[in-house]
């Protein structure tokens, strides 16, 4: 046990010494990590913003089911309760005939004469759905159209929905591919940067193995160095990202005021924490694999 503690102390000291001994290499590795992680995190932020925009547009897509005048209120209520439970449905609102009339009057003030001539309210009551996921709209519309005894017609802005779904799908697939590709490139670049540092010390590794060092004794300092480089680089990336986001998000929101951007503190905090974790994992795992080939002595 004491031997392990001594070894641990030595490994930590060697890691600190390794970082300090070659500052150019250390700074280079940190800068590389920072640049790669800023790129990755910026893309994640852009991708998330795009998804938020698409979702927000989806919420503006409503389904309106016009209720027959002779429909049983209890049946309508039951259908509304059922719709509220459905996945992808955000909000279910009942618009009475009187509400519809009021809206008509407010919107079409110059056509009040039409209502005076009719003397009765010709507008039907309706059930309006505001969606969380517009993808379920077409199927839901078909289902409601099948309830002919309750609804006289169902209106869906189907072309808008289809375009949104198309954008959302492309955004999701492209986003996933880009995140995976960028993560791989980040890992590749960081691993190669660390590999240069390991290569410079290959003789030291070989000698340590030949005088009886365990793999972990040799590998430990490199893994710790990689983790430190990863965390420092990622922290710089995260801070840069937080500052940039705080500056840029209000500007973008002002320009595109009708679309919300994911700029809340929670999102930015999660992105920063994620970036630091990626830096830690990529740095330490990268070092682990960089040293491996030199351990086969």
């Amino acid at each position: 046990m004491q031997a392990r503690l001594n070894a641990l102390r030595y490994v930590l000291g060697t890691a600190a010494h390794g970082l300090w001994r070659n500052p150019t290499m250390t700074i280079g590795a940190v800068i590389t990590t920072t640049v790669m992680l800023i790129t990755l995190a910026a893309f994640l932020a852009i991708n998330d913003t795009l998804n938020t925009m698409v979702t927000a547009l989806g919420r503006k897509s409503n389904l309106i089911a016009y209720v027959r005048d002779d429909a049983r209120p209890s049946r309508v209520t039951a259908i509304m309760r059922d719709l509220e439970q459905r996945p992808g449905v955000g909000e279910v609102v009942f618009v009475t005939k009187d509400d519809a009339l009021q809206l008509f009057v407010e919107r079409f003030t110059d056509q009040r004469d039409v209502l005076d001539i009719l003397r009765t309210n010709p507008l039907p009551a309706s059930v309006e759905l505001r969606m969380d996921n517009p993808a379920v709209l077409p199927a839901l519309a078909d289902e409601l159209r099948g309830m002919a005894e309750t609804f006289e017609s169902v209106v869906v802005p189907i072309d808008v929905v289809e375009r949104l779904l198309s954008i959302s799908n492309v955004s999701r697939v492209a986003g996933t591919v880009m995140v995976v590709a960028l993560t791989a490139v980040t890992l590749f670049v960081i691993v190669n940067t660390i590999r240069i540092a390991v290569y410079a010390r290959r003789q030291e590794i070989e000698v340590m193995k030949l005088v009886g060092a365990t793999d972990w004794f040799v590998r430990g300092p490199f893994v710790i160095e990689g983790a430190v480089i990863g965390v420092v680089g990622a922290t710089i990336a995260a801070v840069t990202l937080v500052v940039l986001y705080a500056q840029a998000a209000p500007q973008v929101t002002r320009i595109i005021s009708f679309l919300p951007i994911a700029a809340d503190a929670g999102f930015v905090r999660n992105l920063a924490v994620f970036t630091v974790l990626v830096g830690l994992v990529v740095g330490s795992v990268g070092s682990y694999f960089s040293v491996r080939r030199y351990l086969a002595v």
């Binding site: 004491q2 031997a3 392990r4 503690l5 001594n6 070894a7 030595y10 001994r21 003789q203 030291e204 070989e206 000698v207 340590m208 193995k209 030949l210 005088v211 009886g212 060092a213 365990t214 004794f217 002595v297």
Partner: protein, 226 residues
């Protein structure tokens, strides 16, 4: 005890070891002589398991060198001290750090390492060089540092590859006396050399190699023999 049986090792276009069979008893002292390319270094590297071999068997203190892996390999190497031909001292470490490395990797406390290093540097007449870096030492001093590193952990087997090559006679004599001293403590010692003066002076067992083969094995040999 070191036992080699029909050991073969081939590089792309030549045989480094060709059916080498020999046995060295525990505590024995033996010279391995031969011209450059005779197979001496390859044989030492095989004994440390730094190099693999193609066929035959190698036993060092009962350990089958061909199959030793992982933690067992680490433990195996901890019982062997090796003086490399090119010394392989760490250029960025001081003499004290280089010599203490075998104990450091075993997890010894710094206080114990410092005491052991001071002891072995005293023995190798390097006490005043403890804080120097290898580049600040002469060739002979570097060899002695390499020897100090090899013996600090009290190995059962000591392998030396040309320990007196290209150094002045004073350092060479010091190194030889140290080797004899270490061997007298029961450490099996195998020294690869082409220093005829030392071999002829000591009149110990001589194993002559050429072209990867053992040409002669004489209990009390001289360099010029054969």
């Amino acid at each position: 005890m070191i036992v080699l049986q029909d050991v073969c090792k081939n590089y792309e276009d030549s045989a480094a070891l060709a059916d080498v069979s020999l046995s060295i008893a525990r505590g024995e002292f033996a010279f391995l002589i031969g011209t450059n390319g005779a197979g001496k270094t390859t044989l030492l590297r095989v004994l440390l398991r730094e190099e693999s071999f193609d066929s035959g068997s190698v036993l060092v203190n009962g350990v089958d060198v061909a199959s030793v892996r992982g933690a067992a390999l680490t433990n195996f190497r901890r019982k062997i001290g090796m003086v490399f031909q090119d010394t392989r001292l760490l250029p960025n470490a001081t003499v004290r750090e280089n010599v203490g490395l075998p104990l450091r990797v075993r997890g010894h406390a710094t206080r114990d390492i410092d005491a052991a290093v001071a002891d072995v540097l005293e023995r190798t007449v390097l006490a005043d060089k403890a804080q120097r870096f290898p580049r600040q030492l002469s060739g002979g001093e570097q060899r002695k540092v390499a020897l100090a590193r090899a013996i600090i952990a009290k190995p059962e087997v000591l392998l030396c590859d040309e320990p007196t090559d290209s150094i002045n006679p004073v350092h060479a004599r010091e190194i030889v006396e140290l080797l004899l001293d270490i061997n007298s403590e029961g450490v099996t010692t195998l020294v690869a050399t082409h220093d005829s003066e030392i071999v002829n002076d000591l009149r110990r067992r001589v194993i002559r190699m050429e072209g990867g083969q053992v040409l002669a094995d004489e209990p009390v040999g001289v360099f010029s023999a054969g």
